[in-house]
Amino acid sequence: MYATLSPLLVAASILGLGAASSAQDGPDDWVVEADMIYTAAGDPIEDGRVVVSDGKIAALGGSGSGDTLRVTAVTPGFVDLGISIDTGALSVEQTTETAITSRVADSLDLFSYRWTRALRHGVTTALASPADYDVIGGLCTVLKTGGGSDLASREVKADACLRASLGPQPSTGNRTPSPFGEVSIYTRRPTTRMGVEWVFRKAYYDALNAKRFGLEATPEQEAGFEVLAKTLRGELPVIVRTVATQDVHTAAFLKQEFGIPRMILADAAEAWKEADLVKACGAAVLLPPAPREGRVKDRFANDTYLFALDAAARFHELGVPIALTGHATADPEATLARQAGLAMRGGLPFEAALEAVTIAPARMVGVDDRVGSIEVGKDADLVLWNGTPFELTSRVVGVILDGHLVLDPRAASGDDE
């Protein structure tokens, strides 16, 4: 329906413009030496070297042609599945509650400074999702947080997963017909959590009924049915926003009802209350940023929920795959690296915290072949630290994205030399 960008433009954009900040043209070669290299793919390498060339990780150890960067520690570039940098209401198609085939890629604003800020905090890959005003918001895309201004040059995986949302959020703004019968696009279901669950189930049963009974449908509906069929075959993971405990158990039961193989519970602040059910249904969990106080009122859904700092540790012990998100807010406390530190304070071991911001989210959306760990052949996305990663005393001093040095450790802290 909406064809991807024609090759003509791709060439132009790569030629044209380097990363937003330090404007080195084209990928170049680097040799990163560090006391500790945390690869997130096996044991860390002591006093090792990462050789970067042509935008990829060329070798671990040995020599390389580029300049040498000497830092204390190196981790893979972070992967944030809940970065929530979107154009708000303009990023989701609200003419229907189940805009299954609409793609957030068509509504992104890649000029927003928030991408650059997240990149400078170490987030190199992110999942862009539509805002949660629809029950099924549409197809999300995995992209790099830096690079050219057009999407094609940044996109790691188009249509990476299908976005859905439970809880009161999709029903805000909708209302029942007024006694005077005036009808607008917002006079519709859902107006409660019950309605949200109904619309989600109806979309799936429409797809199943159409296939099973050969019911006729518009081309757009057919396309929607095919997307839902892909989620049932496990080719496409479903990422569902479930903040309160009610939504966690509803999502778990929907997963079991339809047998959806891959489901990620996003912003699952109260999933710890239903830990056993989450484990039983085999869903993955994306935990929201830790709030300052213990109890936070969700801004959108005016739903009060109780956040548990040890939630990540609990799920880790149960063997439930977990990922963290920073929501890329301006709040310095909420960077993704800081979330890993806070999760460790809640009892999560360092290795699990490292995986929760690198390879685990990458695996959840199926891009672990290119990003998420420091292995030869993968994209050269590296985060350079001046101390042990995630400690309050350490800072991200350098970031390499696809071989580009986006944040230069040498410039940042001259005294290091």
């Binding site: 009161p168 006694p179 409660t192 669950e197 109904w198 009924n209 009610q246 209350k273």
Partner: protein
């Protein structure tokens, strides 16, 4: 959240300190009087004992007749009584509070919304459930509101516990119907005639769908495309759940009995059923329909509602008493929580007695326990202290429906979920 009893059994009462370490989930309760409230048979066991194993009642009987086996932790409650946990069949309090700005009550885009499922908004462990446990209410039917004729499907829940799976008794628990009385606000020109037409029309289509799908399941007919709005009628057609009907005023109760029960042959029970509803008591008894009366306990005899100006003295007429005079036995009580807080279900029963309901065969306590349990078709699991049922047991220091009585402890599924000494007296 504080004060909630989560995990394994850890009891404060140091009785029989010398006994061998008790096995998990094995308890023996000894009390001066056990009000079994079984539907038939012995209602009271003096100086009795109850054996609990893995959340179920294993044995009930007099001390001496029932042997307490090895490995059971014995608790002697002395001169306190044991009563079955109360069953409240009309609650809107298991989800977000009605005053919290989140609408979990009504999704009335249509005048009939059978597809809505209250289970989606159950918030385990909220404050209302904690108070309900302290008030002795152990099982509730959480239902959507009466903003439309068919509000959706309710869910039967135990009141304690912090996870949905441990709370749920049956989902769907009932179909919520509002015969008349609130749904008029849905739109102009909506009145009794149109509502009843729309309800009958929706029920008819649901029954046709359900019957064909049942036959298809048995391999005798073609399956229809799945319709999640008409699914609840399959449970109704199988008789596994009933229609809980918000209905009051004599001719509306008549319509519930004649249309839903007689004409459409659906299992149904009357909720509220006040304001002269008891005049249809004789027909309800013939059709085997229970009446879950409340939250109004009285009808004022004066033409209008209760005369707040207090300048006319015409006295009141008890609703529950009215049904009893019409010969009904299946009379329960209802708080329409949070209109009346869930924990005050026992006070509703007391008001039933005050306004004339007789209690010589324990009708008051049965109205709180076995009658609502059987009405909601979970009489095999809760509602009385009988072998095989869930161990939902209250420890009280007097007749449970007497407001002077104090709830010492509440056991649900064989776990001590509330104890006045341990958690501090909550109500």
């Amino acid at each position: 959240m504080a004060g909630f009893f989560l995990g394994a059994l850890a009891l404060a009462l140091p009785l029989h300190a010398g006994a061998p370490a008790p096995e998990e989930g094995r308890v023996a309760l000894v009390a001066s009087k056990i009000l079994t409230c079984s539907f038939e048979g012995e209602q009271v066991v003096d100086h009795g004992v109850v054996l609990i194993r893995e959340g179920k009642i294993e044995a009930v009987g007099r001390v001496g007749e029932v042997e307490i086996p090895e490995g059971y932790q014995t608790i002697d409650y002395g001169d306190l009584w044991l009563s079955p946990g109360f069953v409240g069949l009309h609650s809107h309090e298991a989800g977000a509070s009605l005053f919290s700005g989140v609408n979990d009550l009504n999704d009335t885009v249509y005048l009939a919304n059978p597809g809505m499922r209250a289970a989606a908004s159950v918030e385990p462990g909220n404050h209302s459930m904690e108070m309900a446990v302290a008030g002795g209410v152990t099982t509730i039917l959480y239902i959507p509101g009466s903003g439309s004729n068919i509000g959706g499907q309710g869910v039967l829940l135990k009141t304690p516990f912090t996870t949905f799976e441990e709370k749920v008794v049956r989902n769907p628990g009932s179909m919520k119907l509002a015969q008349w009385g609130n749904p008029e606000r849905w739109g102009p020109g909506v009145g009794m005639a149109f509502e009843n037409w729309n309800t009958r029309n929706t029920f008819r289509r649901g029954i046709v769908y359900a019957r064909q799908m049942e036959r298809a399941a048995a391999g005798e007919a073609e399956e229809l495309p799945r319709n999640i709005s008409f699914d609840p009628w399959r449970d109704l057609v199988r008789g596994e759940m009933a229609v809980s009907t918000h209905t009051q005023v004599y001719q509306v109760v008549l319509m519930t009995l004649t249309m839903i029960r007689e004409e459409l042959d659906m299992p149904v029970f009357l909720d509220h059923s006040t304001i002269g509803g008891w005049l249809a008591g004789k027909l309800a008894k013939e059709l085997g329909v229970s009446a879950i009366v409340g939250p109004r306990s009285v009808d004022a005899l004066s033409r209008g509602f209760i005369n707040w100006a207090r300048n006319k003295h015409e006295g009141f007429r008890g609703n529950a008493a009215g049904y009893q005079e019409m010969g009904m036995e299946m009379i329960g009580f209802n708080t329409d929580a949070p209109i009346i807080p869930q924990e005050e279900l026992s006070v509703q029963a007391a008001m039933g007695a005050r306004y004339g309901m007789t209690d010589e065969r324990m009708q008051i306590l049965r109205g709180l326990t076995i009658v609502p349990a059987i009405t909601a078709k979970i009489g095999d699991r809760v509602g009385s202290i009988e072998v095989g049922k869930d161990a939902d047991i209250l420890v009280v220091d007097g007749h449970p429906a007497d407001p002077r009585t104090h709830m010492e402890s509440t056991w649900v599924n064989g776990k001590l979920v509330y104890d006045a000494k341990r958690d501090g007296r909550r109500w």
